[in-house]
Amino acid sequence: MRHDPHAEADSLTIFGFWVYLMTDCLLFGSLFATYMVLHNSTHGGPTSKELFSMPFVLVETLALLTSSFTCGLATRAASLNQKKQLFFWFVATFLLGALFLGMELHEFHDFIKEGNSWERSAFLSAFFTLVGTHGLHISIGLLWMIVLLVPVMRHGVTPLSMRRLTCFGLFWHFLDIVWIFIFTIVYLMGVS
């Protein structure tokens, strides 16, 4: 057993964050179950096949996958105390995440403009709840990135900021995994 109080506090914090992510997974799981149950309840409104534009969603997915990759490189640079690289990869992660969120909001805007908002059918309610909850997580992630980066730019990578960056990395990869399942279950299965 190691008795380094710092390492112990770090691993406890990260384990606690991991447990939070697992409960968040259950939240998404319930929303997925709701969506799958209500998927065909379109009440005369558009079906998923008529609604989704696949090339658009593919670009969205690639943006998020790439941001997960750059986020991995960012936390790695932080662990090696390479401030410039950390900054570069972190900003790349932020921009890709912002691109993803912008595209998602654009999609929502188009649906609502055509009269297909969450009020149209049970299918659309479930769709907006599931995809919107993911988008909300992404928005919080983007805010979190700004909050994280300011102290790192000022004081460099301290043990505290390293711990926070590690938690953020887990969060961002986790959102990527949730999106993989949204991409597969909502979009790919929705248009096939």
Binding site: I14, W18, A33, V37, M54, F69, G72, D176, T184
Partner: protein
């Protein structure tokens, strides 16, 4: 905390596979290479493979030392998730079937 940070090599391998798997799933659907239940099974398999890639290459699961609390919590979550999702689908499918008007059966 080192267990959470991989090398550039693992990150690149993980990224490569996640892109390949995404395009495979996309082309299966858009090019209509498969249909019906086979397509569903293929898509689910690709998504689960993608999940494993993300877990190993980005979340670095499996590098943990004993006792593997992260893994234990993850597996318990997966069990609860399975019960919620499979249970909801099973119950609601049966409910749909039972409540369907008689002339719509068959």
């Amino acid at each position: 905390m080192e267990q959470y940070h991989g090398s550039i090599k693992t990150a690149v391998i993980g990224f490569f596979w996640s892109i390949v798997l995404t395009f495979a799933a996309y082309l299966l659907v858009v090019e209509e290479w498969l249909h019906g239940p086979v397509l569903v099974i293929a898509l689910i398999s690709l998504a689960i493979f993608q999940l494993l890639v993300q877990l190993f290459f980005f979340l670095h699961m499996g590098h943990e030392q004993k006792p593997r609390w992260n893994l234990i919590v993850f597996l318990f979550m997966a069990l609860v998730l399975l019960i919620i999702v499979a249970g909801s689908l099973w119950i609601m499918y049966n409910l749909d079937y039972t409540l369907m008007p008689h002339d719509m059966m068959h």
